[in-house]
């Protein structure tokens, strides 16, 4: 029968049969390739591995996997936000006088910066002589539902900056913002340039027009107000976690654990795995008013880079940023692709500005071996040479 004569049913059947044949061929190939000895060894190893891995888990205690262990004092509390000041680790003569304040994203906890004792970003900063403060946004509850971006930036952040300026007697401080905290820090710096000496923006979303990251694409069509209303003004952390898990569904929910069992007989590996596991799911609820504004004004309206964003009745003009700026991004970042950060360089009026691109992922900026050997030392060097 010629092709012209075939009806859709016959064509479908032919395609189906062709596919069936391929599957059968696959079975034949699989049988030919099957190596019983290798296979049985793998199964025996797997059982052995499971027993040993369970043994490691049974013997680990919560204190073995503690994070956020560096000594620090609370120097300010505003609502649920706390400002911590870390105890210095460097001798007095090596300490940098200009203090550094770190602002983390609202969606995760700030102790990512001090997750593992052997790869703590904060510890590296302190050993290098930096005087480190960090904002802990806390866990918002229903009573915080009306807090806006203006409140977080012009109230909470501003009080933190003023508290540090007052305590250290410095007119301007160094500000380091991470991810969404980087966006907040950039906005803050544009609104209060006189209070910031140097700005470091890490994996920071500034230009939201692209679609490289799934969050950017999905947020474009999101009716965020109905989501916020459905959760009565405060979106639970787990709802955010589901969204993040689905960005790489099998990678985040299956392969991560399958891969874990390859190495889980190593107690040190499991300690770090469990630390990360706790951090990943330790997601505070999101204040509806801020989440709504961030989604509509930035993800959907892209107002920051366009110069149309307004906070507290003032337009946020990135040209007001005239101090030294470092923008550090991760090449393999699936949450904030480099293309979302790079436009910051052209939007500011600083003459001393640097864009650093590192071959790692979003979290790898803080926890990878490259972080310790390359990324953090580069940032420290940049800050020290300008403080």
């Amino acid at each position: 029968m010629s092709n012209e004569m075939k009806n859709p049913f016959e064509e479908g059947m032919e395609q189906f049969t062709e596919f069936q044949n391929k599957v059968m061929q696959t079975a034949v190939n699989a049988m030919q390739q099957f190596d019983p000895q290798k296979f049985s060894e793998q199964l025996i190893n797997m059982q052995d591995n499971i027993m040993k891995g369970m043994d490691v888990l049974l013997n680990l205690k919560p204190e073995d996997v503690a994070s956020d262990t560096l000594e620090k004092d609370v120097v300010l509390t505003v609502g649920k936000m706390r400002l911590f000041h870390y105890k210095p680790l460097a001798p007095a003569r090596k300490r940098i006088k200009t203090p550094l304040m770190i602002t983390y994203a609202l969606v995760n906890r700030q102790y990512m910066m001090d997750l593992q004792p052997d790869r703590s970003v904060i510890k590296s900063f302190l050993e290098a002589g930096l005087d480190v403060y960090i904002i802990d946004w806390g866990y918002p509850t229903a009573e915080d539902m009306y807090l806006t971006m203006d409140d977080y930036i012009n109230w909470y952040m501003d009080e933190a900056v003023d508290a540090i300026r007052k305590e250290t007697g410095k007119d301007a401080i160094n500000l380091l913002g991470v991810c969404q905290g980087g966006t907040f820090s950039t906005i803050y710096t544009a609104l209060h340039p006189d209070k910031i000496k140097n700005l470091v923006a890490m994996v920071v979303p500034i230009d939201f027009s692209g679609n490289e990251g799934l969050l950017f694409r999905w947020s474009k069509f999101m009716n965020i107000d109905s989501l916020v209303d459905a959760f009565d003004g405060v979106v639970p952390g787990d709802a955010m976690n589901v969204a993040y898990l689905v960005l790489k569904p099998l990678g985040n929910m299956v392969e991560k654990y399958v891969g874990m069992t390859d190495k889980w007989t190593d107690p040190e590996f499991m300690k770090n795995f469990l630390r990360m596991e706790k951090w990943v799911f330790d997601s505070p609820a999101q204040v509806g008013a801020t989440l709504s504004q961030f989604t509509k004004d930035l993800y959907q309206g892209n107002k920051l880079i366009k110069g149309e964003l307004e906070l507290g009745g003032k337009r946020v003009d990135l040209k007001n940023i005239n101090m030294p700026v470092l923008c550090a991004v991760a090449e393999k970042d699936h949450l904030v692709p480099p293309s979302a950060s790079r436009p910051l360089m052209d939007a500011i009026s600083s003459t001393d500005k640097q864009f650093m691109l590192f071959n790692t992922g979003h979290i790898g900026m803080y926890t990878s071996s490259k972080s310790r050997t390359d990324i953090i030392p580069s940032i420290i060097e940049w800050i020290k040479s300008r403080s």
């Binding site: 596919f19 049988m31 390739q33 793998q42 679609n211 799934l214 109905s226 209303d229 099998l250």
Partner: protein, 375 residues
């Protein structure tokens, strides 16, 4: 069974443990395949097995028997244990439920072992093709069930079931109100996956013109608002249910294609001289092919719209139901969400007022302090 619950549980625990050990990914299949693939099975086993055991089945059976014997001996060794347990056990809820005694689970591992199931029976290429496809779709059907949080599982945990429920619900309840193309229904009946997408598209178009209009009608009389809210909640429920069905069908259609990709990738790998000789090789191929397929789907505006519509429709349903609940609760002497939101707003406004006043006071005292210092 003894008359000692604690020891019974221990025996059960050990039995379940050894049963599970024998079911470790592919252990039974391994034995079956091993026998098919290895003519000198007995010789081979002797090389690997502990001394004195002639085959793998015997090994696991012996282990189980020895375990049961051990717990029997344990009972006689600790005579006071029985009374202790009788007193103690009622204080622990659900102790009879074995899974609650040993709830530790490694996320994703169930799915990992299910991937292996697809390759069962590959020693018979004639039946394998059909089995493979059924098992692949079965795997995909359950893919999100075990790994998503409980709340999300309830919504899209069983995508095929959800899609069929939507279609059945339409046929049994909504069909008299809105007529859809019979061709689509015939294609669904014949197992054409792509027909589901057409079904949901057409459903959305026709719903608002028919039953949606009725459910959004204005009410009359004293209970007008209450009636309207109830009707709107029903409307929101239909929309949410069908939106989740549309999301499920979008994902399942893509996963149906990924099965073909998997077979193609395997054949391509073989042609390129790659080796797939272990379970992990197969798993890696499945993981990569399926994840690539999902990410390709997720990176389209079409999916983003369906996904965001799903989130929106469920939000609208929750909001509508909350209104119904709140009205029902309004007669009781308890604060509702509306009352609490009003209170939170007052607290928020007061906090800002205090902040502004503090800043004003600080502004007034700072120059005064400087003047004093200078003076």
């Amino acid at each position: 069974m003894s008359n000692n619950p604690f020891l019974d549980y221990q025996q059960q625990f050990f039995k379940t443990w050894t049963d599970n050990m024998s079911k470790i990914p592919g252990m039974d299949t391994y034995q079956q395949m091993f026998q098919n693939a290895t003519p000198n099975l007995q010789e081979y086993w002797k090389t690997f097995a502990p001394a004195g055991l002639t085959n793998p089945t015997e090994f696991w059976k012996n282990l189980q028997d020895q375990g049961a014997e051990y717990w029997k001996n344990f009972q006689s060794m600790v005579p006071g244990l029985e009374n202790f347990w009788k007193t103690f056990s009622p204080m622990i809820p659900n102790m009879g439920d074995f899974s609650s005694m040993f709830p530790y689970k490694i996320p994703g591992m169930e799915l990992y072992t299910k991937v292996f199931e697809m390759w069962k029976g590959m020693s018979n290429p004639v039946t394998f093709a059909k089995d493979f496809q059924e098992k692949y779709m079965d795997l995909m059907q359950d893919m999100f069930k075990g790994v998503l949080p409980a709340g999300a599982n309830n919504v899209i945990g069983k995508p095929m079931e959800l899609m069929d429920n939507c279609v059945n619900f339409y046929k049994q309840t909504l069909a008299p109100w809105m007529e859809l193309d019979q061709g689509i229904m015939s294609r669904i009946a014949s197992g054409d996956m792509s027909a589901y997408n057409d079904f949901f598209k057409q459903f959305n178009e026709k719903y608002d013109e028919t039953i949606g209009k009725y459910l959004n009608m204005m009410g009359l009389g004293l209970n007008r608002e209450a009636n309207e809210e109830q009707m709107q909640a029903i409307n929101a429920y239909y929309k949410a249910m069908f939106s989740s069905g549309e999301l499920a069908s979008t994902v399942m259609t893509s996963l149906g294609d990924s099965m073909k990709d998997l077979v193609e990738s395997y054949q391509k790998g073989i042609a390129e001289g790659k080796s797939f000789s272990t379970f992990r090789d197969f798993y890696n191929l499945w993981y990569k092919t399926t994840e690539d397929s999902l990410l390709k789907l997720f990176s389209t505006d079409e999916f983003a719209k369906v996904f965001d519509d799903f989130a929106d429709k469920y939000s609208q349903y929750t909001i509508a139901m909350n209104k119904v609940y709140e009205r029902a609760l309004s007669a009781l002497p308890i604060p509702t969400n509306t009352d609490m939101k009003s209170l939170y707003k007052t607290v928020y406004d007061l906090r800002k007022e205090v902040r502004d006043l503090s800043r004003a006071v600080a502004g007034m005292t700072a120059p005064a302090a400087e003047t004093k210092k200078e003076g």
